[in-house]
């Protein structure tokens, strides 16, 4: 067992290829959306095409995909039926994400018990394809659950009734303490659009505002948020232990302008427009996140999430592409190789860590020492 790497995967292809083709930037500051190269414009329902996709992901050391469970009036669909047939225990598996904030039916409080049942039914339909036999559900935007404790209890009750042994419930939150007491097993770093871990780099002045209103300047300075990649990922990883059991989410870039034609996009641009993604920093992000997860989580609970395998409309894809070739893909592959080599070769005889109570006491002693030295930590 090692650190498991899961990549977010969009099953809405071929439908989303046309959306990708039609997406038009409203600003010169928007990075170009990319286009698939070696894997082509696949259809996620076609087995022979999905074999290539899963094969390439597994060759990079990715252990599985995270697939959305999308709400419909009748229940939830994953679009992962073909993918599920390609999963093999211990080799490749699936986890699932539910964006409850986008689930209109969940907003109806009365309907929630039934919706919880339908959600778990959709998950249970792929029980045999779940990564390491553990059904995992990530709840994006857990605040939209309403009464969170009640909602997690409902999901857990339904999971138990459906015989989902080892059911793992994760919340997309930056601080584990905010969710672990509410029925979640752990948290996962929110996506770039949901958690700006550092201040945006664009801070329009009053003059900018007037010029934008006068039609003299691009309005995205006012409506969108631009972040510097290095500072953004640095902020996510600094003093991570203090945030508790929060799984890292790593990404090469992120720009969701296609989903925000009226403004409000998040743009996390990594590298120069003419050079493409700065794969070096991304590689270090992946490599260090894996090492960190290994050091800080117990066996069977070591996960890192890659955003994403194929979210082409958000520019976060790691699949080989026309503009970047296979550089981003190779970067992930090399980073996983490096991290796993380090873990294999260094960590065989680990000591039992000190218990949390002792650690807490040592923390207090050090804080007292800071105070005694007259130094601000």
């Amino acid at each position: 067992m090692t650190v498991r790497i899961l990549a977010f995967f969009d099953t809405a292809y071929p439908g989303n290829w046309s959306a990708l083709r039609q997406a038009r930037p409203q600003s010169r500051r928007y990075p170009a959306l990319n286009w698939p190269s070696s894997l082509g414009t696949y259809d996620t329902s076609q087995s022979e095409q999905m074999v290539s996709v899963v094969g390439l992901a597994a060759a990079a050391g990715i252990d599985g995909f995270v697939v959305d469970l999308t709400a419909t009036p009748e229940g939830y669909r994953s679009g992962a039926e073909t993918l599920a047939t390609l999963c093999r225990p211990g080799v490749f598996g699936l986890a699932f994400r539910w964006r409850c904030g986008r689930d209109a039916a969940w907003a109806d409080e009365q309907a929630r018990p039934a919706r919880a049942r339908l959600l778990i039914e959709a998950l249970a339909a792929h029980k045999s394809a779940c990564l390491d036999g553990r059904p995992t559900l990530i709840v994006e935007d857990p605040v939209a659950l309403g009464d969170i404790r009640q909602a997690t209890l409902a999901l857990r009750t339904e999971a138990a009734a459906a015989g989902l042994a080892g059911f793992r419930l994760l919340a997309s939150r930056a601080e584990a303490a905010e969710v672990t007491g509410l029925g979640f097993d752990a948290a996962i770093d929110p996506g770039p659009a949901d958690w700006g871990s550092c201040p945006p780099s664009n801070k329009p002045t009053g003059l900018d505002v007037l010029e934008i209103q006068a039609g003299l300047k691009d309005s995205v300075e006012l409506t969108d948020k631009f972040y510097p990649y290095q500072l953004f990922i640095f902020s996510r990883m600094i003093n991570r232990e203090a945030r508790g059991k929060v799984y890292p989410r790593v990404f090469p870039a992120y720009f969701d302008w296609a989903a925000h034609p009226e403004g409000g996009a998040t743009l996390l641009v990594n590298g120069d427009a003419d050079k493409g993604v700065d794969h070096y920093m991304f590689g270090l992000f992946v490599e260090n996140a894996i090492s960190w997860a290994d050091r800080n989580f117990v066996e069977g609970e070591k996960l890192v999430f890659v955003e994403s395998w194929n979210h082409w409309l958000e520019g976060s894809q790691i699949e080989p592409s026309v503009l970047d070739g296979d550089q981003v893909y190779q970067t992930v592959k090399d980073a996983i190789d490096k991290a796993r080599f380090m873990l294999r070769s260094r960590g065989a005889a680990k000591n039992d860590p000190l218990d949390e109570q002792t650690l807490q006491r040592l923390r207090q002693i050090c804080e007292a020492a800071y105070a005694a030295a007259g130094i601000k930590p």
């Binding site: 290095q230 500072l231 990922i233 640095f234 996510r236 990883m237 600094i238 003093n239 991570r240 232990e241 890292p248 920093m281 270090l284 992000f285 260090n288 996140a289 090492s291 960190w292 592959k333 090399d334 980073a335 190789d337 490096k338 991290a339 796993r340 080599f341 380090m342 294999r344 070769s345 260094r346 960590g347 065989a348 005889a349 680990k350 000591n351 039992d352 860590p353 000190l354 002792t358 650690l359 040592l362 923390r363 002693i365 050090c366 804080e367 007292a368 020492a369 800071y370 005694a372 030295a373 130094i375 601000k376 930590p377």
Partner: protein
Amino acid sequence: MLAGLALLSDGRQQRLALRFGAGAFRDDEVFDSANCPPARYLIEVGRRLLEMAPNARRLMIANPLLPISPEQLAGWVPPVLAVPVIVSDAKGFPLAYCLPRWMVEEEERFLLLLSTCDAGLDQRLLGLVGGCEAGVVGVPKLDIGDFPIATTTGWFMGRGRQEMLRTCTIAALRTMQRRKVWRDLPLAAYLPYHAGSLLMLNLAARQVPNGFFAKEVICASYRDIVEACPSPLEPVPLRMPWLPRDNSVGELEYLAHALERLGPEVRESHFFGFLRYSRLYNRTPFHLVDQMKFALGHSMRHETDTVHGGQPFARDKADLPIRPLKLLFHLAGGWKLKSYRADKAAALLMALKSLGCELTVIDRPDLERFGARSVNSDDTAFLTAEVRAHHIFIGVDSFPHHFVRHSLGWPTVSLFANTKPCNSDARENPDYRALVGALPCNPCGAEQHCPMTGREDCENFAQPHQVVAAILDMARAVYGFTEAS
């Protein structure tokens, strides 16, 4: 991004494409070592080609500095195959080497002296090694241009670096021309001025008994390191101070002075193999000892070849009463960013003092006011004596850490920040623990200022309470120490 062709006697070709490995040890990967000249990769591709095509008559090997495919190589196979031929660009930068099989099989030691950046020099070298006229075939439409300082494939080979390779090749040519018995002369590793690198080289040389090198050029003031950590490589003392860390003397300038300083007798009785960095050393996940092993000639094909796959070089511990727990700290690395921050060090020392520990710090008199005794250490005998008087050594990524752990085998807690532990740490054990944060900018390659915060310290060090926890944990596991004992 390494390529070769095996040219068979019936006119057929077998193609080989390799890439720099990242730890998976796949068949199509080559070990990534920073501490060897590009020509070392040329030799490795040659070995793989002979393994793939044992009956090959000639081998065509792409210049390892260049991202060339076997298909491109196939288009450049020279028409005349009787002698070694270099395919070069319009301005004399080598693109590929077409070599008779025997040369690759029998003359690896001399192929290591190829500059890989000057076709004219390499032509002369191959001519002398082969005892024949070597040829150069140009590809006039291709001009490599100025080779960048760092490439996407990880080479660290700007103009200054290339000049260093040329200097070593020119020195070799002079020796071959002046000494009739040059084939019997030893090859000396040029890696004189970094104490840590020298230590790693000596540890590596013990594991590569039949490597390319018989000697090593070292700054004379490092003799104590060689005495404390001997290796089969005979030292060639260089009576020059170390290379200053403030960049006031360039490495090329230093090399030129070093060859001058060694004098004609030494210069003309040795060949000098360039073992300073040719690649970005912290991109590879491999330990510096393993990188040195590759440089010395080991092919490093399997994970079990790496130091982490084996037993520690040495293992020892203090023969002292359990109380008080005596701790020796080295918290100042060669660069500011490698040094443990003063306020964190203060908290760390005061916390340990409050737990009854006895503390000694090396080269940090400023920390005496926090309850530690300060000592100066500039030789390995003194360092060894201090280490033996303490239960546990706690050190940043610098020579004392490498020496204490790898040569003395002492219980060690290491503190890494802006460098990668895997390049110089040891296997995790009850008596060894490497602590580092999770920042994605590690390794940044910066020395004096953090590229993110602009400050003179690195945020990626472990927090004081984590260091205290690691120390107490180790004291418990190795010495049976408990706070109550």
